[in-house]
Each structure stands twice: as structure tokens, then as C-alpha cells.
Symmetry: C2
Subunit: 346 residues, 2 copies
């Protein structure tokens, strides 16, 4: 579609330009839905060793571009590289998720964490993966860099892993708000340094994943999440930014006033509601229910076109969540091909 | 406050009457926050044996009324007694949650389930617990009965337990919608028969818990959740009904048009947003962030009064979720006492 000299569809859409069709990529497109990913993964019984091998990460990043012809690549990595770079190690337990042997419990634990450029210097393997990917993509599609949003990273560092309620992390916001702000600032400083290096290594757009945004009360999201998201967006004027705050429908107005260009939506949020809240300027990204891809091809096509119609432009097609690992590859193909085969009516 | 002859505060508020202050109770008030519950629980290593012993369930139900002086009791039970009564057994695994050894996978699995009055006849132990509780409460406070909402019960029966995404259950809605409707109707028929017996046994109000409401796309909530909630509410004209659909902010307009009297809110939903969506008639219930109770007494008092002010009447005070098991009892007391000590300004 686009040569190396013209601006790619994905970046034109992210800039709010009128496009012939919406671009499409999928959160977690590099992953278990692809047979070639599963083959590559077998070489690395340890997930973290996989993430830390730049050649392997680059290969996983490019696989969905080759296989599905999506309009953007997203670097294969994990949001939890940030706590590790700050000095809080984690383990990735197969089929269970991350676990932190030690968690943040008091101010002393926060004080000894590294932060900013010093912490970000530990993530050379990510920058190298971006450089390799960029070279191997050779201009085919743009490359998305990413990081976890500070609240979500704090949630893992305090909770020690996934949780149904994140009540330990949320408890800190009520019981020790000063500690929470100190930790959030250290995470933010590190994330800014990290993302600046991602951009230097070739990332064309940065997405911030606030996976546990929906656990916070609206006033807490304003106090403990938004200020740090704004700091990060404001610190990266050189690229477009996407904020995906899952479950934070109540924060869409605030996100709409931030300096990001793109707002990611989960599948609970109707395009009309989101547009009303974020205003006319932002590009919206999402938001097909990932479970739609379990349906037959006809249903997938209908639901995809219905969704695109509801957004009425200024839209990057994606799912409303990462693609589920057991999604049939054929369903994913129908989704991508439906978008690539349609054109906006003008 | 109220004698046996005058209508209790909780029921006056649920009926939308103007009251001197909002009533208060807590979801999961009968549970691990109380030392006397933990002592009682020790007699029943098996949680299900506990639930099935009417005298013990009645004792757990009354404990928070004695200890905290809340304005309503809620029968101590579990929403998963319904699948079991229909023929799908479950185990309650300590610190992990429910697990169904066998799950619903196809139409044949649905066909062999019992339903309606035949299934509800297996829940005599719940009705007996209600009768004992009612007698022992002796009119002190009203007694709330409850059931899971059909979508949430289906989610457990298909998924086999808790889940981060409930993608297996949601897959059924896309891939096998007719099966989903058949199962939802059987659950609904059983739930109606069950709740009618609860009312006959003394329940003064019925609350429907749609714990996984927030996992559904808005169109799916309209298609697979609302019709069954409406059937249940319409089938119980003799008592007020509360719908608590956690995470289903997008369904508040539909819930507002149902025949329930009270709408429960999670802590993400602002009172103003909810009021706008459900309209002026419904009573709202909630919605303090349960993590507030980890804060100091001053903060709990301030946040409680701020919340009550935001609701502006037609309000039953509660948390926005069940009280977390490690919540300090002193925090719960401050919450209850703050509400009981305040009066609306007229």
C-alpha cells in the first residue's frame, strides 16, 4: 500500500487524517494465535529469556505482519520490564502470569528503587529488538512501542501479581497516598526515559497500556493515574501517543484533554459514548469484542462492518482487548481481511 | 429505630420514600471481617456444608446485625446453589473460589439439567435458613434474599469457575446463541421458583447479583442479560427488587426501565451519571470503594459523607463491591456509625 517515502496508512490515521479505510492491528497479535510464534516460543522455555533475546523478539514482532498483513507491528515485549529495570524482579509463571517474589510495602522499598535514565539503561535489549525489527520491516508498516501506564505498573509492584480486586494496591492509595505518589513518580520518570529510547530506536507511535484502570474510583483515576499519563504524553512530542485505559470509561473526558492522539477503547464502550466524551479531535482505536472472533465468518464480517460504521471515521480498528490465545486463526484472518477489503463511503 | 409494626427504614428507602437518613448494609457483611464468623466457620471445614446447615447460615446472617447494627440482614448463602440444584455440582476450593468438575459444553448438557420448581425444590436448606433467621431477627431489621443473575450463573456453568476474561462463556454467546438462550431460560425459570420460595420463607427484598455483567458488550447485555433480569423482576411483584450489575455502567438505562426498585452501583460509577441514566424513580444503592475502609477514620468519615451528599437522597448506603475479607473491622464500624449518625438536611 505505502512506499517508504509516503506516510503509512496507520500513521496517517493516527494523525487524524482522512483515510480510504481504517488501518487494523490487534493487541497481542504477536503471540499464541500464530503457529510460527508457538514454534519460536518452544526454543525459550523461559518467557523472560525470550523477551530478552532481541533477535527472537524481533522475529515475533514481524510474524503477524507476514502472516496477517496487519497495518502496524508492535514490539514483542512485556510491560513488567519496567519494575525489573527499577530493581524489582519478577517471574513469569506459565499459564498463571507474573509473580513478584518481593513487593513494595513501604517508603524504604520505594527509596531503593532505581529510576529514570539509570533504570532505563537496563533495557538495552528492548531498544536492540526495536532496531532489528525496524531494519527487517524495511518500511513495510510502522512500528509501535509501548509501556504500561504508571498506575498499572504500581498495581503489580504492590500486589505482587495479578489479582481479582487489586485491593492491596488500591489500599496504598487510601492509606499511604504520599508513598503511592512517590512510587508513581519514579515509575513515570523511568517510563519517560524508556520511551524516549524506544523512539530513538525506531518506534513510530507509543501506546500506554493501563490494564487495571477500571479498578480505580473516578476520583482516584484523576489523582493517581491521569497526572502521570499526562507527564508521559507531554514528554514525547516527537511521536503520536495512544492511551488504552481498559475499563476507565469514566476517565474518557480527562483522557480526551491529554496530549495523546489516539484513545483505545475496550469492547464495553460504545463509539458514540467515547466520541462524546473525548471530543472531536482524538482518533479512537478498537473495539470489537475479542470473543466475536469465535463466531462464524459471516458474523465476524457483519460485526466488524457494524463497528466500523459506528465509529464514523477517525478510527483505527483493533479488538477491545488483547486477542485471546485460543482464538481461531481463521477468525482473525476474516477480521483483518474484512477491514482491508472495505473502503469508506465518501 | 423501628418497631415491628412500623415499616423499617431499609424498606421505606427501598420504596423510594423520603427518610431521615439513608439506611446502610454491606455486601458480604456476613463473613470474614467478623471474628464470630471466623469462629463459626471453623466448625465447617467445608464451605458448602456450612451453607447447607440452616442454623449456621442463620447465625452468620444475624452476626453483622448484632455486631455492626446494620439496617438490613442478607441471608448467608452462595449464588452457586442454583447450578447445583439444577444438577451441575461444584466444589468450593479454599482461597481459590468455585470449581465445576463438569461444565456445560453442548445442548445435551443443557437438556439434562433440572429447572423451575423441580430444581428449586432442592434448596429447602435455604428456605429453612430464611425462616430461622426471620424468627430470630424478630423484626429487628428486614431480611434480604438473593440470587445470581442468569448471565453470571451461565458464566460459571460454562467457564467452570472464575476467569480473567470469561472468554469461554462469552464464546457461547457468539458461537452458540441458541444454546445460550436455552440455558439462560432454564436458569431463569429456576431462579424465579427459588426466589418465590425465598419470599414465602420471609425475604423482604430480593437482590440479583450480576457479578460478571461488566464482561459483556452492551449489545450482548441487552440480548443475553436484560430479558432474563426483566422476567425475574416481573415475576416477583410482592417484594422490592435490587439489580446489582457490576461493571455494567452501559446498561443503566435499560436497568432503569426494568421493574426493579433499587439499582446497585459499583465504585466506578458516579451517582450523578447513574441518576441521569436510570431516571428519577429508582433508588440507588452503593457505592463507596471498599478500599476506602483501609484508610484512617477521618478519611472514611469524609468519604462516606461526600458520597451521601453526591447521591442527594433516594439512596441506600453500601460499598461498591463486597467488603474485602481483610478489611479492618474498625474501618467498617466507622463507615456504619457515620451513616447512622447523620441526618439529611431538609
Amino acid at each position: 500500500m505505502s512506499s517508504v517515502t509516503s506516510k503509512p496508512l496507520f500513521l496517517r490515521a493516527a494523525a487524524g487524517e482522512s483515510t480510504e479505510r481504517p488501518p487494523i492491528w490487534l493487541m497481542r497479535q504477536a503471540g499464541r494465535i500464530l503457529p510460527q510464534y508457538r514454534a519460536l516460543r518452544q526454543k525459550f522455555p523461559d518467557f523472560k529469556a525470550f523477551v530478552k533475546t532481541p533477535e527472537a523478539a524481533a522475529e515475533a514482532t514481524i510474524q503477524p505482519v507476514d502472516e496477517l498483513q496487519v497495518d502496524a507491528a508492535i514490539i514483542f515485549s512485556d510491560i513488567l520490564v519496567i519494575p525489573e529495570a527499577m530493581g524489582l524482579d519478577y517471574e513469569m509463571i506459565e499459564a498463571k502470569g507474573p509473580k513478584f517474589p518481593k513487593t513494595i510495602e513501604n517508603q524504604g522499598d520505594i527509596d531503593i528503587l532505581r529510576s529514570g535514565t539509570e533504570a532505563a539503561a537496563n533495557l538495552e535489549y528492548v531498544y536492540q529488538a526495536l532496531r532489528i525489527t525496524k531494519k527487517e520491516l524495511n518500511g513495510r508498516v510502522p512500528l509501535i512501542g509501548f509501556a504500561g501506564a504508571p498506575w498499572t505498573i504500581l498495581a503489580y509492584m504492590v500486589e505482587g501479581g495479578g489479582s481479582k480486586t487489586f485491593s492491596k494496591a488500591r489500599r496504598m492509595l487510601y492509606a499511604e497516598p504520599q508513598q503511592a505518589h512517590a512510587l508513581l513518580q519514579k515509575i513515570t520518570d523511568t517510563t519517560i526515559a524508556y520511551l524516549k529510547q524506544q523512539v530513538a530506536a525506531g518506534a513510530d507511535l507509543i501506546q500506554l497500556f493501563d490494564s487495571w484502570a477500571g479498578e480505580l474510583a473516578p476520583a482516584h483515576y484523576q489523582a493517581f493515574a491521569m497526572p502521570y499519563l499526562r507527564q508521559i504524553c507531554d514528554a514525547l512530542p516527537e511521536v503520536p501517543k495512544t492511551i488504552f485505559a481498559k475499563g476507565a470509561w469514566f476517565a474518557l473526558e480527562d483522557i480526551g484533554q491529554s496530549s495523546c492522539q489516539v484513545v483505545g477503547l475496550d469492547w464495553n464502550t460504545s463509539p458514540a459514548f467515547a466520541r462524546e466524551k473525548v471530543g472531536p479531535q482524538k482518533v479512537l482505536q478498537g473495539n470489537l469484542d475479542p470473543c466475536t472472533l469465535y463466531a462464524d465468518a459471516k458474523t465476524i464480517r457483519e460485526e466488524t462492518l457494524r463497528m466500523i460504521g459506528a465509529f464514523q471515521g477517525k478510527h483505527i480498528v483493533n479488538l477491545g482487548h488483547g486477542v485471546y490465545p485460543d482464538t481461531p486463526l481463521d477468525g482473525v484472518r476474516v477480521f483483518v481481511d474484512t477491514v482491508k477489503g472495505m473502503r469508506y463511503e465518501r
